[in-house]
């Protein structure tokens, strides 16, 4: 590793530092196909300029039980954009925009396990791109809401037709959004939180 002296590493700007009172953080994951607007959504609500974290992992098809990083495997670097919202002086929320392609699925163990929930961003020009992502969230019992990012040249379907096409159970919220707009992205996150709240009320969360 080529590591330069610690003084050369730029850290957070003074205004981007969390207060010492910050006790704990939670995370939400935004998933969807390439170009669907994940990074845009993270950026529109984040209080910091979105950052990128990455992980090196072996190619899919090997299986998670293989020794991680075995020399013979091809390594792939997966990058994730993330942003941050300070909720209170003690509580911080992080948003991760993660690639939804199947070959990155084993990235998800650590990411989705603890996530409060997920936003599935959908582009109606390529609806099927999101099918696998939703199935995986269902299998893992990760609660999610669906946000339709409205691109100008995308086919428009009535929301109920999309609900049927996506085979969403009636309680799962589905809504249109514009990820470029902070208010719209915030509404999506609010919808997710209300949904999680309703699940906590009924106790039906797996």
């Amino acid at each position: 590793m080529d590591f330069k002296g610690s003084d050369t590493i730029p850290g957070p700007r003074a205004e981007d530092q969390l207060p010492h009172t910050a006790q704990a953080a939670a995370k939400i994951v935004i998933v969807g196909g390439f170009g669907v607007g994940k990074t845009t959504m993270v950026g529109s609500v984040s209080e910091i300029t979105p950052l990128t974290t990455e992980e090196t992992m072996t190619q899919a098809g090997i299986g998670v039980d293989d020794n991680f990083g075995s020399a013979s495997k091809t390594a792939t670097t997966v990058a994730m954009d993330f942003g941050r919202i300070s909720i209170t002086d003690e509580l911080v929320l992080y948003l991760f925009g993660t690639p939804g392609q199947q070959r990155f699925w084993f990235l998800w163990n650590g990411l989705f396990e603890g996530a409060l929930g997920a936003v599935v961003l959908v582009d109606t020009r390529r609806l099927e791109v999101s099918f696998d992502v939703m199935g995986r969230l269902e299998e893992r019992g990760v609660p999610f809401v669906v946000a339709i990012n409205s691109f100008p040249d995308a086919p428009r379907y009535p929301i109920e037709e999309l609900r049927t096409a996506l085979d969403l159970s009636p309680d799962i919220p589905i809504m249109e959004c514009d990820a470029r707009r902070r208010a719209s992205s915030r509404d999506v996150l609010m919808t997710l939180m209300r949904f999680l709240h309703s699940l906590a009320m009924t106790g039906s969360l797996t």
Partner: protein, 133 residues
């Protein structure tokens, strides 16, 4: 035009724990950094575990990477942010932080994770926070 049709999936039945689990085989590479807390309880490093330096002056024995973490963690910072600022992959960050935690140079503040019944007051706090955005 009709949209393509998906079929929903059922939650997978959790696999029964295998007896040899935890013996050499890493089942979940992202979660392999397990650190012991002050009272011996074990905590895993998450992307959103908050790290705080116990003292920002690195001991003379600290490596440049360790010194960099201590400097960045003068205020609490998530593992994800550390990874971003240091340009280190998440797993490398885990190794580095495990050393620092073992040497008691940093403290880790455990994340809030989804539970069977997620705390409603937490969700309400998040909603109030989002409202102010």
């Amino acid at each position: 035009m009709t949209p393509p049709q998906r079929q929903r999936r059922e939650p997978a039945v959790p696999e029964p724990a295998t007896p040899q689990e935890g013996e050499g085989k890493v089942k979940n590479p992202e979660r392999m950094y397990v650190v012991a807390g002050p009272d011996g309880e074990r905590a895993e490093l998450d992307l959103v575990t908050l790290i705080v330096a116990r003292a920002t002056d690195p001991p003379p024995s600290a490596s440049p990477e360790q010194a960099a973490v201590l400097r960045l963690c003068a205020a609490p910072l998530s593992v994800a942010e550390l990874s971003a600022y240091l340009h280190l992959p998440f797993s490398a960050m885990g190794v580095l932080l495990t050393e620092l935690l073992t040497a008691e140079l940093v403290k880790a503040r455990a994340p809030i994770v989804r539970q069977a019944r997620t705390d409603r007051s937490l969700l309400e706090a998040v909603m109030n926070g989002l409202q102010r955005l």
